[in-house]
């Protein structure tokens, strides 16, 4: 699974730490998700999509 978190963060001028705080995980965790090293659970994926006001499939893409 790929994701667009890095691009979306840049568009919103949001740091990894800020996104991490908004969704309630650590900055390292956001880094791992952003770099495709960890696939988030559905609830966390929804929370991340909510921050960007997008649907989940607009943030996370099936390879």
């Amino acid at each position: 699974m790929k994701n667009r978190i890095r691009v979306l963060r840049a568009e919103k001028d949001l740091s990894q730490a800020e996104l991490a705080e908004k969704v309630g995980v650590s900055r390292n965790s956001i880094n791992a998700i952003e770099n495709d090293k960890f696939e988030p659970s559905l609830p966390l994926a929804f929370r991340i999509a909510e921050v960007f006001a997008l649907r989940i499939e607009e943030v996370f893409l099936k390879e």
């Binding site: 995980v25 650590s26 390292n28 965790s29 791992a32 960890f38 988030p40 966390l44």
Partner: protein
């Protein structure tokens, strides 16, 4: 995990290192002071303390972890446990380690080796039983 949280957990884990070291360092003098039987009971109490306290520290570390950290901890526990067991059995097979422990507790090497082997095999067997029971309970709760 932040560095301050890591420090907190590290401080909390100090008794896990200090208590066994103090016990091992004082085994001989304990034996002389209170006798072999009482020392065996103290050894059992130290073992139980270490196990229960390790459980408590693990619970403290797990509380407040997010899912990525929890996945990391699960990975570490799974492979760390296996590596620890293999490491212990390897140590157990080395004569210098056997001599060291035999000297420490002032027991003949053969007797000590038998006791340690029974202990190690017992731990592995009970862990296996524990895993089977926990797995059955997990599935029962999800039927």
């Amino acid at each position: 995990m932040g560095s301050s949280k890591f420090r907190q957990h590290a401080v909390k884990a100090i008794p896990l290192i200090i208590v066994p070291i103090v016990f091992l360092a004082s085994v001989q003098s304990l034996k002389m002071a209170v006798g072999a039987a009482a020392t065996t009971w103290i050894a059992a109490a130290v073992s139980i303390f270490v196990m229960v306290y390790a459980w408590y520290v693990a619970a403290c570390v797990q509380r407040g972890q997010d899912e990525v950290q929890a996945a990391g901890a699960n990975y570490a526990a799974k492979w760390g446990m296996a590596a620890g067991q293999i490491g212990f059995f390897t140590l157990l097979a080395l004569p210098p380690f056997q001599d060291l422990v035999a000297d420490l507790v002032n027991q003949p090497r053969g007797k000590l080796l038998l006791g340690m082997t029974i202990g190690a095999v017992g731990v592995v067997l009970l862990q296996t039983v524990g895993i089977i029971v926990a797995n059955a309970l997990w599935w029962k709760a999800r039927r």
